[in-house]
Symmetry: C2
Subunit: 155 residues, 2 copies
């Protein structure tokens, strides 16, 4: 079992566990990504969101529709360009986001549970360097675009 396979295996495991945890808050992993980004970069359009996450604009529509239906975000017209719809969090969305942050802390603790404080720092630094070399955008999940999302993978 080489490091690349362990990364794939653990990455999927971590994503699955996180999805289970936030399901209790009524949100999905991509919704969490959007909530966090909306909070951090307020006043942005859906196009900006599509560019940031490198997804299709039509998918942004679906995600924002979901957030709106759940009362976590709302669309607002841009006063300077009537084509644009600015997306912002509702009070309830900010509340859910606080819950998400707590879940993230619990999740992190669970994943690195078997490691000492020193080992955690070591792992973090090694992963950070590998991610940097791979050219990954900090905070943005690369998704599964080119990957047939099936189960019985060897790597």
């Amino acid at each position: 079992m080489n490091a690349a396979f362990l990364l794939t295996q653990l990455g999927t495991h971590a994503a699955n566990r996180f999805a289970e945890r936030i399901a209790a808050l009524g949100v999905s992993p991509p919704q969490v990504g959007l909530l966090r980004w909306i909070a951090q970069s307020p006043g942005n359009s859906q196009q900006a969101m599509a560019r940031h996450f490198d997804i299709q604009p039509s998918r942004v529509v679906t995600f924002v529709d979901e957030l709106e239906e759940q009362g976590l975000a709302q669309r607002r017209p841009d006063p300077t360009d009537r084509r644009v719809r600015i997306v912002e969090l509702t009070d309830r969305g900010q509340e859910v986001l606080r819950g998400v942050r707590e879940v993230m802390r619990e999740h992190e603790e669970e994943i690195v549970a078997p490691l000492s404080a020193e080992e955690r720092a070591q792992l973090h630094e090694l992963l950070r360097r590998v991610a940097e070399e791979a050219g990954l955008t900090p905070g943005v999940h690369p998704g599964y675009r080119s990957l047939p999302p099936r189960i019985a993978r060897a790597n």
Copy 2:
């Protein structure tokens, strides 16, 4: 960016890169998983395969169909139980598997490229312990069952 998120992000990246590499050999990630398992545990039924990978028997049918159409594996009747179909590799399947192993070495080298030999050993050991604590079956990819396989994840 905590370790859990880095694992998710890097795991997806590694899986995507591996899928790209083996696409040149004409096989998909799950096909690689099956090829390797068939080679390592010869004479097994499709049911055994479904149990090992924890997937539905109906999916095994699809995967083995694909392998057969590509001439990489073939079904053979079990002499002791006429319900059972034993799956084995063809010569061409074994040849492709050798290519897959070479690709795995190249892939591993690419992922850990920025690390020294000592750091690679460190990372491997840390990942191994985390995977063990998480209860992951060695060599079996956990898949994306409970995870909405979308792109804009926060974790």
